[in-house]
């Protein structure tokens, strides 16, 4: 099976592996997700109705309300947080959000994760070393 390795910078340390959920849309925290279920609720979002619970969430970055971190914080306490977060654009919303989610998070990649990773791929995240290993889903 084809494996791809991406290298980036640790945002929050730790290791996790699981199935990828990928979106090219930025994600709103407050007013964009239901933190009790991890379901995206933003009206015109391409992932509307899907949950990131237990997934490796791959997305461009955060937008919207400054309640971003508190919503992901609540999601963690509700057991609905993503397993790991991989993203491109650093903002205070996403940095703080990743910190309080306590899930491994990586950014500043050598390749664009939105191009390389597709929903359903198996992803191993070693955030401490900034290494992300992608096993493409057989199609």
């Amino acid at each position: 099976m084809k494996k791809i390795v991406l290298r980036g910078r640790k945002v929050v340390g730790g290791c996790a592996e699981g199935e990828a959920l990928v979106t090219t849309h930025r994600i709103s925290g407050w007013g964009g997700i239901d933190p009790r279920t991890g379901i995206i609720i933003e009206t015109r979002h391409e992932l509307r109705g899907q949950s990131f619970k237990g997934k490796v969430l791959v997305f461009p970055g955060a937008k919207g309300s400054s309640g971003w971190s508190s919503q992901f914080h609540i999601a963690r306490l509700a057991g609905a947080a993503p397993l790991a977060m991989l993203f491109n654009e650093m903002t205070t919303k996403i940095a703080l959000g990743a910190v309080v989610t306590h899930a491994p998070a990586v950014t500043d990649f050598d390749q664009d994760p939105l191009q390389v990773i597709a929903t359903g791929d198996w992803v191993r995240v070693d955030a401490d070393n900034g290494i992300v290993e992608v096993t493409k889903k057989s199609r």
Binding site: S28, G64, W68, S69, K93
Partner: protein, 428 residues
């Protein structure tokens, strides 16, 4: 991250466990950002009570006190630490309810008690209980260059762009930690080089009232996402309400935290000034076609024209906006199938009471409420299915959060809808 001596002392616990937890969070957060150091701030705005819907559930399930709520949700500490008085000037933003209108909002006595306990607790710590998303409307007006640590995207963008204060969009936890330490990561909008424009927006249509400014912000936010738009072609100086609606919309459809209006905002005396001598990475126009796109996007949930709820005051209304509504409403009566709720900061409501505006609104059958809004508090008149709003931000969030339809239009169209119970708005 490099820490100064006073910061190291706090991290080592020399100022007690709460400030230690606060400094630990700021270090984790600063390292996540890639910040090199922290900076002193004496102006923090955040939300920290337990009155928000999910927090109320958490407090009810865990039967915990406010030290525990602050430890978990403002310091990211599962260990409960005793919270000392705040170290720097700190203001409370919006709450999850208006305790005076709890009955209308369907809020039970237990939740109202959480509000009262929170007011006593946080007031006792020295937090100013402004209880609004618009601290700049009620006395917290940063000076150009002042380093702040504010939450609330619509307030952050106003602080950076209109006032020239310097803040990133902080979150509940970083604002809480900043209140106890007077520190925040020195990153992003605190630095000169990150405050220049990136996108040039050429206005080819006149932008007049708050609804127009909201549409403009909604369109631009979606295009530039988290970058910095520069507006050229604005023909007159917009007032507080218009810029408030513009920023709130741009930070909802996108993540805009700063913008410039050439000749109007303090860091954009000229085009060169706004872009720091650099070239824009992208130019685009905003003409009738773009305005129509924005209008259709913001109205994407409105289907049924029988309006049962009109909500004004997102962000919280200014006194000027309340006065304008009262001119439209005086002597009129709201339709029996429709409710009208207007949200404003408590301090402005005090003046509205004094001016007789509250009475005009109530005589018409509406309510002037404080502290919260329908999206933040998840509070609607019973049975609401179709709402009408004059805020692009509220039109963006309310349907997603509450599952209702929302019509967006001018303040005049919203008041007409309240009186007739029908939405007859349209793009003019």
């Amino acid at each position: 991250m490099r820490l100064a001596d006073d910061e190291k002392a706090m991290l080592d616990g020399k100022e007690g466990p709460a400030r230690q937890k606060a400094m630990d969070l700021l270090v984790r957060y600063g390292e996540a950002l890639g910040a090199e150091r922290l900076i002193d701030t004496n102006n923090v705005c955040g939300t920290m009570g337990a009155t928000m819907p999910f927090l109320r559930d958490f407090a009810a399930t865990h039967g915990i006190g406010l030290d525990a709520v602050f430890s978990e949700f403002s310091l990211d500490s599962a260990e409960v630490v005793e919270i000392p008085k705040v170290k720097v000037y700190s203001c409370h933003l919006q709450q999850g309810m208006d305790p005076v209108h709890a009955e209308q909002q369907g809020i039970g006595p237990q939740a109202v008690k959480l509000y009262r306990d929170g007011a006593a607790f946080f007031g006792g710590l020295g937090v100013q209980l402004l209880n609004t998303c618009t601290p700049y409307q009620v006395g917290n007006v940063p000076v150009k260059g002042e380093h702040c640590a504010w939450m609330e995207s619509s307030a952050v963008i106003y602080c950076n762009s209109v006032l020239g204060g310097r803040t990133n969009a902080e979150g509940r936890e970083s604002a809480g930690a900043a209140m106890l330490t007077g520190k925040i990561p020195y990153w992003g909008y605190h630095l000169d080089e990150n405050r220049f424009g990136t996108h040039l927006v050429e206005l080819e249509v006149e932008v007049k009232d708050t609804a127009d400014w909201g549409l403009l912000g909604y369109y631009i936010g979606e295009v530039v996402q988290e970058q910095i738009p520069v507006l050229s072609g604005v023909k007159y100086v917009p007032n507080l309400a218009r810029l408030k609606h513009f920023g709130a919309a741009a930070s909802s459809s996108g993540g805009v935290e700063m913008y410039h209006v050439i000749g109007v905002t303090p860091e954009a005396r000229s085009l060169e000034d706004a872009f720091g001598g650099k070239k824009p990475i992208m130019k685009f126009k905003y003409g009738p076609a773009e305005r129509k796109i924005a209008y259709e996007r913001v109205n994407s949930t409105g289907k049924d024209r029988n309006v049962d709820y009109v909500m004004l005051g997102c962000p919280h209304y200014s006194l000027e906006q309340i006065w304008e509504v009262c001119q439209l409403l005086e002597g009129q009566r709201i339709h029996e199938n429709c409710s009208l709720w207007i949200f404003t900061p408590g301090a402005i409501k005090h003046v509205a009471d004094q001016n007789g505006y509250t009475k005009i609104i109530e005589d018409a059958g509406g309510f002037l409420m404080t502290d919260t809004c329908s999206a933040v508090g998840r509070v609607l008149p019973k049975g609401t299915k179709i709402a009408a709003v004059d805020s692009a931000k509220q039109a963006h969030y309310l349907p997603a959060i509450m599952g209702v339809q929302a019509w967006f239009g001018t303040t005049f169209e919203c008041i007409q809808a309240a009186i007739t119970g029908r939405w007859s708005g349209g793009l003019q």
